[in-house]
């Protein structure tokens, strides 16, 4: 297991770089701790797979260096890096049995036969593959195949890190849960450093200790699931995480309050200096808004209410701005004279899409 350092890392697929826009991965500096579970989360084309391929050595970055436990591996070939990777589609060796599949990485490295046997049986036990060891790998279901891919990584006791490239894409929904909790369990037990790429926020938030949110080739925020939810550092994080995403509406500042369409929203935590001339927005999650006939909030008109089972989502209009409000299953949505109540502890202020830090 290893601690991964990314120093001034940047990558462009263009042979010569004319503008910063041509970087598929914009410069970043991060340290990923030994034994941590990290998720790279972002929409398609945000650079997360590029970053993963740089870590696994399939790509050599244009700039910067990458270190495993202090050792510079930037230019080292994949096979010399001692990493394991699980791909989007299960990669198995069709002609081999499950046993031979799991033994393959060890045999290629010249490990003694009885050590191979011990490791393979141990890992098969762990992944609940023991019954199928003698079967041909090609006849198995997608999730069993994906377990084999994972097993080929785990079987080497000394891997620096295990990388996952959207590994649950082809797995049935009910098995996703199972595999994901198995991964978490393995992580807890063996303390692997794991990097998990996904565009599915549920997957990222349930799997990782730290989620790295990427947008347009840059890391916009790295933090715990809670931090991403409560204090998104970028409006994109607000939209992308949470369902429905954060309400972001233009505002201006009057004293210590944010003014939206002439109505004041109190902000309890305050804010530091705002860059001059920046376009300001206020961000409030639907969870921290409520509707009521009483109180001092501005009056809003209800556009529609969607019942999502455990809760309802009301779309309401305040002048030209639309807000999503989360309403409990048993709560009534007032049809007329509804007022929008804002939880002042969860109002975030954004200048040019970036969070204005607390004072």
């Amino acid at each position: 297991m290893a601690r991964i350092e990314l120093n001034h890392l940047a990558h462009s697929y263009m042979p010569t770089i004319q503008s910063p826009e041509e970087f598929a991965l914009k410069e970043l500096n991060h340290v990923w701790e030994d034994g941590g579970a990290y998720a790279l989360l972002g929409p398609s084309g945000c650079g997360k797979t590029t970053l993963l391929n740089i870590i696994s050595g399939l790509l050599i970055p244009t700039h910067g260096e990458i270190r495993f436990d202090g050792e510079d591996v930037t230019r080292k070939a994949t096979e010399a890096r001692n990493i394991a990777q699980v791909f989007q589609f299960p990669v198995i060796y069709d002609t081999m049995s499950v046993y031979d599949n799991l033994a393959f990485p060890l045999r290629n490295r010249g490990v003694a036969a009885n050590d191979v046997d011990r490791r393979v049986r141990e890992i098969a036990e762990l992944l609940e593959l023991s019954d199928t060891l003698k079967h041909k790998a090609s006849g198995l279901t997608a999730d069993a195949k994906q377990k084999i891919s994972l097993g080929r990584g785990l079987v080497r006791a000394d891997v620096s890190a295990i990388l996952f490239d959207e590994p649950l894409t082809v797995i049935d929904p009910h098995l996703k849960w199972q595999l994901r909790s198995q991964l978490k369990h393995l992580h807890k037990r063996f303390n692997y450093t794991m990097v998990y790429v996904t565009h599915d926020q549920t997957e990222a938030l349930t799997f990782a200790d730290k989620v790295v949110v990427m947008y347009d080739g840059a890391v916009v925020q790295m933090g715990t699931p809670e931090e991403l939810f409560e204090r998104p550092k970028h409006t994109f994080v607000g939209y992308f995480i949470g369902s429905p995403g954060m309400n972001v509406v233009p505002c201006h500042i009057d004293g210590d309050k944010a003014m939206v369409a002439g109505h004041a929203f109190a902000m309890e935590q305050g804010f530091s200096k705002i860059p001059t001339g920046a376009s300001l927005e206020v961000g409030i999650r639907p969870e921290f808004l409520s509707l009521s006939r009483e109180g001092s909030g501005p009056e809003v008109s209800i556009q529609k209410v969607e019942d999502l089972g455990r809760f309802k989502v009301a779309s309401v209009r305040l002048e030209e701005h639309e807000f999503k409000v989360m309403v409990g299953e048993d709560q009534e949505v007032p049809t007329d004279g509804a007022r929008l109540i804002v939880d002042p502890t969860h109002v975030n202020l954004y200048a040019n899409s970036h969070l204005v830090e607390e004072a």
């Binding site: 696994s56 060796y93 069709d94 081999m96 393959f104 290629n108 891919s149 990584g153």
Partner: protein, 289 residues
């Protein structure tokens, strides 16, 4: 389900029946007809039974032509299949050179067979041919019209030149269908080049390889035009393959009875081999699923 009591729907099948009848069934039955009878012209026929078949199957001439034919097909497969795989593996997977390589590979396949024969016939001539005259000048004794080995080498090299591309293109298509992730996984698992070939590339190619073997076997087993143009079956009868023999018998000697019997035997051999290949292929399909 209601069954139609009206039988007029059979008329709809008629066009297909007619086309198949005139393009396949009637010509084949004519051959069958000749194979069981003897004729001295005037459309008079005498029943022969299996006499022609016995004669053909017992004749020394048929045995040696058949032996040559199997040897030729075997040599062709033994060279073209491995060579095709090696070339396909050496071709770039992507980039600027891919179309160039593909066109280069496709070129020999586009040349008509008798033109290929003519090219090599002239190429190998010791008086004016580039290859023949060159070998002659550096002191190598080479003469495909008189030396059996030279004739065989010329025919084999010609066929390899003409048809290896087909194997290459099939294998290349098989290789291209392997997702990048497999190669990446192999690198991560520390697989050697040989292990990558043995456990990833070869299994993914087995389907196309079977097709390649089948096509090359059938084609080389039925070869006629090229050896006919280059050697005419000579020297002596040393490159007289089954089809050349058959044409000599049917058109040269006008022995229609034995020729018809031989055609059917020839046809059955090819059918048998195709059936064996088909069985293997569908068996592999079942195993995989």
């Amino acid at each position: 389900m209601n069954k139609w009591s009206d039988n007029r729907a059979w008329w709809l099948v008629l066009p297909v029946v007619l086309i198949v009848a005139f393009s396949a069934v009637i010509p084949l039955m004519t051959v069958v007809n000749y194979s069981f009878q003897d004729t001295f012209g005037n459309n008079e026929f005498f029943w022969e039974g299996v006499g022609w078949f016995q004669e053909v199957l017992r004749s020394e001439r048929f045995h040696s032509a058949m032996g040559r034919q199997f040897l030729f097909s075997f040599i062709i497969l033994a060279i073209e299949i491995p060579l095709g795989i090696v070339i396909a593996l050496a071709m770039p997977r992507k980039g600027f050179w891919v179309p160039f390589c593909l066109i280069l590979m496709a070129l020999p396949l586009l040349i008509p067979w008798n033109v290929v024969g003519t090219i090599w016939q002239i190429f190998g001539r010791i008086d004016i041919g580039l290859l023949g005259a060159f070998l002659d000048n550096i002191g190598v004794e080479y003469n495909y019209t008189q030396n059996t080995l030279d004739a065989w080498v010329t025919l084999v090299v010609m066929d390899v030149w003409h048809w290896t591309s087909l194997v290459v293109l099939l294998c290349y298509a098989g290789l291209q269908s392997i997702p990048d992730a497999y190669y990446q996984a192999a690198r991560i698992d520390g697989a050697s080049k040989w292990a990558t070939f043995r456990y990833i590339q070869l299994p993914k190619m087995n389907r196309v390889l079977l097709i390649a073997v089948l096509l090359r076997f059938m084609d080389s087993f039925m070869i006629y035009t090229e050896p006919f143009v280059v050697t005419g079956g000579g020297p002596g009868n040393d490159t007289t393959f089954l089809s050349i023999d058959l044409v000599q018998m049917a058109i040269g000697q006008f022995d229609l009875g034995p020729a018809a019997a031989m055609s059917l035997i020839y046809f059955l051999i090819i059918l048998l081999f195709s059936w064996v290949f088909f069985t293997i292929m569908s068996y592999l399909d079942r195993v995989e699923n």
